[in-house]
Amino acid sequence: MHSWPLLLVLAPLAAQAAPPIRFNKDIRPILSENCFRCHGFDSAKRKSGLRLDTPEGAMADLGGYAAIVKGRPGQSELVKRIVNHDPDELMPPRESGKKLTAAQIDLLKRWIADGAPYEPHWSFVPVARPEVPGQGNAVDVFVNARLGEEGLAPAAETDRATLARRVSLDLVGLPPMLEEIDAFVADRRADAYERFVDRLLASPHYGERMAMFWLDLVRYADSIGYHSDNAREVSPFRDYVIKAFNDNKPFDRFTVEQLAGDLVPKPTLETRVASTYNMLLETTEEGGAQPKEYEAKLAGDRVRSVSGAWLGATMGCAQCHDHKYDPYSARDFYAMSAFFADLQESPIMSRKEHLLVPTPVQQVQLKEVEAQVDRARWRFQEPSEALTRAQEAWEAKVATALEAVKDVKTRWTTQEVAEVSTENGTILTIDGKTLDGSGPTPDGETYQVTLALGQQKVTALKLIVEGSSRHINKGYARAGNGNFILTGVEVDAVGDDGKVRPVKVKTAAADYERAGFPVAAVLDGKRETGYSGDGHRTVQASRGAPERNLVLVLERPVTAGKLRVTLRHQSRAHPKQVMTRFRIAATTIADPEFAGLVPDEAVSLLKRIAAAERTPAQAQIVNDAFRQSTPMLGNVRRELRRLEGDRQELLAAIPRTLHSIPTEPRTVRLLPRGNWLDDSGEEVKPAVPHFMPQIETEGRATRLDLARWLVRRDNPLTARVLANRLWKLYFGHGLSRVLDDLGTQGEWPSHPQLLDYLAADLAENGWNVKRLVRLLVTSDSYRRSSTATAELKARDPLNRLFGRQTPFRLDAELVRDNALAISGLLSPHIGGPSVKPYQPDGYWDQLNFPKRYYEIDHGEKGHRRGLYTHWQRTFLHPSFVAFDASTREECTAERTRSNTPQQALVLLNDPTYVEAARVFAQRILAVKGDRLTWAFQRTLGRKPTDAESRVLAELRQKHLSMYRDDEKAARALVQVGDAHLPRNVDVVELATWTSVSRAIFNLHETITRN
């Protein structure tokens, strides 16, 4: 819901006397809403050459007449047109759907009679600090003055318990503990409340609450947004935002670091992480997407974001034409987008440039493991005479073994697949000679692949497992952690008659082995042991994990025509770790175990070039191949691999983020009517909107210049926009209600001076956000009761004058946090990668490329605060969707606050809330004394009335007997969720109290901040 003129709200009073007319307050909204579309800024669409947005235009001679004649409404064409009864003459025209009210016509006439004075739009005028007309908290001075003008008295201060809950939910997004409320209620010191507030502002959860606010504006999400909507790694940015608010980083620095953390004079890891902001836009990986089209889309995305988040401006409207209502030209749009033309990226396909963001502990660990790897590598390379001799023998042996092979590359030939089958439903398709799995990702899978070998005399088979960037962790599997665990391999010969006889595999060898997962395990017949390719440790690889080669040496050569290879993945511990892409090759060489795994390059070198003639690089290749295979270095090699594995694992565990990398700027052209196929437009250089204070710089202006300009003292918008939005967090709606548009279609603020005071105060005090927040929440206006007097309700039904507080429903994430906190389940852990709490099965069914499997996080990770939930743009968590969370596809300054049956279904049936109710019930059972009162008070911060207690007691009584009669049902209810369930608990009692807790958790009051 958006603007309505204050005049209407306070109509009864306005009717008493005719107050002086102010252009910005009274006239501009009428002209903007009804006239500017055709008689405004957009020169291309301007009708009859008339513009009403400037006095020059409005009073211009149109050939013997003028739209506005100062002081003479009767002679003004504008007035003639708006009162005309001829439908062809009437303005605004009928088809616009606009119509002026009698009051509006009267206002326009009076304004013209007064000389039609124009004012520049209020939010485009530099912020000047207004005089505070009184003593005390400036908020109260302005709010009370305005109430006084209307002859209204504000509501009284609310009770302390309500206040404690309100300010806790507002500042940290969590309800206060009972003990905290009690202490606050009992605190008789004059500054008890201020102390309470200061404790909250110092809490690390304050940053989390503020991050929720900011992440909506900068459209933080964990997925790319378009088409495949694949995951992206950006969570360190969220940690940065949380920390920035907790550290009270000045908002100007906060701004500069996000837009230009890579360009600041001394970039640090922190500022580079901040520069992730520039990469938070929606991107695509769709095949057939056209680079130029997406270049235009990305430009639009960034302009909408920066203008929306900082300027409260809808500059996106100027992509195809000059803005209809505000002075932004299409050129301004492209000039703004040009600031971002230096970001290194390709307009389509995935982003790969990640920045590692280790924690301090990880930094130390990494240094340590890297030193160990270096030492092990040195031992591995260390020369010795014994090794030199062994190598000579080895080279000779290889040469003999491969004597018959002319081209080393044909040592192994990948075989045609005649037939495939799978046991548990994976769809295995043949892609050339490679097999590729799709479809379901079952628990455990066995593949059978039949190869047509013809008349070759096969001595060994080689299984080559491929990694892919489409797999989990870019590893080998589509589910689990991306690794595969091959627990068994069998080979059978298939005769022409279809008869199958086993072929014995003598040994298995591999070019990579990990401790605990030896290759020999594939032949031991046990499903508990297996060979692993370590796919989950390879996220560094951009294309996917390296190929793993596994050689199966047949006991004796086989000329079978057809061989069937059975590949079993039967790990009970890791049932989803099933290889997805693989191929099978065969060889006829004599000693395949030995010679089959020597890398091609080394074989080729030692066949072609004698030892003495090799260059150092060539020698190194041969040496490495030897050292990788000789039994003499077995222990050293294992140690090296283990350490390299540790290093990989550590690297994989280190959070990483996309970040800004500057490069040579692309040419940006003005696209006529936004058409990206038309490159006839002129080249545009970075610049800020032409009607605002300009950037003075030599050469090309940069993102850093833009960022500094946003927070310059003469920028009229940024401070106002921020102050207005912060106000909304604590008062339920903005001083100017339209949070995302402070332009002419926005709303004249209810308290323009107060807004300017807050904006000036912010900018003049080093952009100190906590200071402003404190000023707001320690005001009397904030502390008022939300129950209105009859007069306030009648005179100011929308509470535009803030004579009372406004109750509102908690935001989606806080609905969750509140229930988890009350139950005691909430993890206090701050920061880190996103998590995946319970989500209904199949919710991601419509995602593809690749198909995705939502792997629920259990334990502590399943009970994190809502802001850490994996933010999948095209399928945002359904409980968040129900409670109006933004998908963050676009900059969102204000979420709607709906009230729907889906919300009831979530609170009633989502296992998150059922589990929380059960865990809360466990706590209730531990209470000595009046359990009902305790539960009620813990949830709502107040004692229940007798009537309320009675209603809950009745439910308890009824469900106690219900569950006594049906203990099975009781057991089923208390087993929802994976939170710890004590063994010796009385399930009937627990289920009964779970019912009571569910009722309490579903109360309107529970999800409302009053």
């Binding site: 088409h227 109750p807 099965d841 709906s898 469900h959 569910r998 009722a999």
Partner: protein, 461 residues
């Protein structure tokens, strides 16, 4: 528009009378819409959109092109394709004509030309209006879906179903007014469908589409928790209501009353949705018409559910079938997809008709775009300059073919129908002037049809 309608227009225009009702409207359950009374007498009350996702080939369905058949394998005239947007064929050396892979026949008394792959749709030829001259603006799946549903490619704008609930309200007492179902098949690449396609965008989220799924809970969080019987759930809801009512007496919060009614609605949905999904009351003959025996998530069974939803007053029902993206093997894949979709779509129209529901139900068949007359191997690439859809019922003319593409089936050249025009025309039949269904957001009046859209008079009765 009369004055009363103007005042009733919520965010679009204001008068002081509207103030108090505005406070409530924001949170009231879906009841009346803001277009009261309607701008025009409504021909249709609801829409069932058979959304053939992936981009069906017009050349193997409804647009017969003998010339293309002749030119098969020969170069495509560059005069048509030069400088035009193109998707996966961006790097093709040469664009070659690819003739229709199946013959066409004339069906029905009206003699409409339809591919022989679709004999069931052939049976309803006299009930449908084929549009051969559709045009859209986005050439990749994701933005093209967004454009078809919201009239723009920018994310976070409301889908047509949401616009309709906002404008007309919902007539379903215990079901959501905007329902989406998705089926998959075996022919094309399963292109993803984002929930953005049924998002309410900047409209209040009560207007959001609700996806019904055929496995698990049909609606997210519909089932009561384990160990909670219907009576038990009722008790909890009664307790919540009792406490909410008590609280309502001591605080000023208009949301409480709404909250109470939404819990009632939620409880009703817990029984009405399973009732909707339980087809044991359908006659065998009806099941045979659709070719289904149970609710199995197939397109045909979704068609049957769509009829049941229409009967229960659901305003906007959208059935996605995600199987039409045939970059390769058009011949094989079209046969598969015809098997998956032909009978269900035709059965739905026949079933609606014999129950008298087709008169006030608009049925739409079509995807986000069509496919190229040029070959992509043995398949076809995405195409936006001319493709086919059909509409039926709800005031659309029956048994006619509207518009035409050039002889290659490349450009819509005659009676071109842009997506905005289709939207405008559908709204008109639903009683709404598309230019007046507006919502103010970020300072601007937004419409489903943006600043475009013309009524296609030739196809409405």
């Amino acid at each position: 528009m009369n004055r009363r309608a103007f005042l009733g227009r919520g965010a679009a225009g204001f008068g002081s009378l509207a103030m108090t009702s505005l406070l409530q409207q924001q949170s009231s359950s879906a009841a009346g819409g803001i277009i009261t009374p309607l701008d025009f007498p409504a021909r249709a009350k609801r829409v069932i959109w058979l959304y053939m996702a992936g981009g069906p080939s017009q050349l193997e369905t409804f647009d017969y092109k003998p010339k293309l058949e002749e030119m098969h394998g020969k170069p495509m005239p560059e005069s048509l394709t030069k400088g035009q947007p193109i998707a996966q064929l961006q790097n093709a050396q040469q664009l070659k004509c690819f003739g229709p892979q199946y013959p066409f026949e004339r069906f029905g008394k009206s003699g409409q030309q339809i591919s022989t792959l679709f004999p069931h749709i052939g049976k309803i030829a006299d009930d449908i209006c084929i549009i051969r001259s559709m045009k859209t603006e986005a050439i990749n799946h994701d933005p093209a879906h967004t454009f078809m549903n919201t009239g723009t490619t920018i994310s976070l704008r409301p889908a047509m179903g949401s616009w309709l609930l906002y404008g007309l309200g919902s007539e379903a007492a215990d079901l959501p007014g905007f329902v989406v179902m998705v089926s998959t098949g075996k022919a094309g690449q399963m292109q993803p469908i984002a929930s953005r396609q049924w998002s309410a965008g900047f409209l209040p989220s009560k207007y959001q589409g609700v996806r019904f799924s055929s496995n698990g809970d049909p609606v997210q969080y519909l089932s009561s928790p384990p160990g909670v019987s219907a009576q038990n759930q009722r008790d909890v809801i009664d307790t919540v209501r009792g406490l909410n009512q008590m609280h309502d007496e001591v605080v000023d919060d208009p949301e409480i009353a709404t909250r109470i009614s939404q819990y009632e609605m939620a409880f009703k949905m817990q029984t009405s949705v399973p009732g909707l999904m339980d087809i044991s009351d359908e006659k065998k003959e009806t099941l045979d018409l659709y070719g289904v025996s149970q609710i199995d998530g197939s397109f045909a069974s979704n068609c049957l559910l769509a009829r049941r939803m229409a009967e229960r007053g659901v305003r906007f029902i959208q059935l996605y079938h995600r199987d039409w993206d045939h970059h390769g093997a058009v011949k094989k894949n079209m046969k598969i997809i015809a098997g998956e979709s032909d009978q269900g779509a035709a059965a739905l129209v026949m079933d609606l008709k014999r129950r008298g529901l087709l008169d006030d139900t608009i049925v739409v068949w079509g995807g986000e775009f069509g496919r190229t007359p040029m070959a992509q191997g043995d398949g076809r690439d995405h195409h936006i300059k001319g493709f086919s859809m059909w509409v039926a019922g709800g005031g659309f003319k029956a048994g006619i073919t509207h518009g035409a593409t050039d002889e290659f089936g490349y450009n819509a050249v005659e009676d071109v129908v842009h997506v905005h025009d289709l939207h405008a025309t559908m709204l008109r039949l639903l009683g709404v002037e598309h230019k007046r269904l507006i919502f103010k957001f970020q300072g601007r009046d937004f419409r489903l049809t943006d600043v475009h859209g013309d009524l296609v008079t030739k196809i409405v009765i």
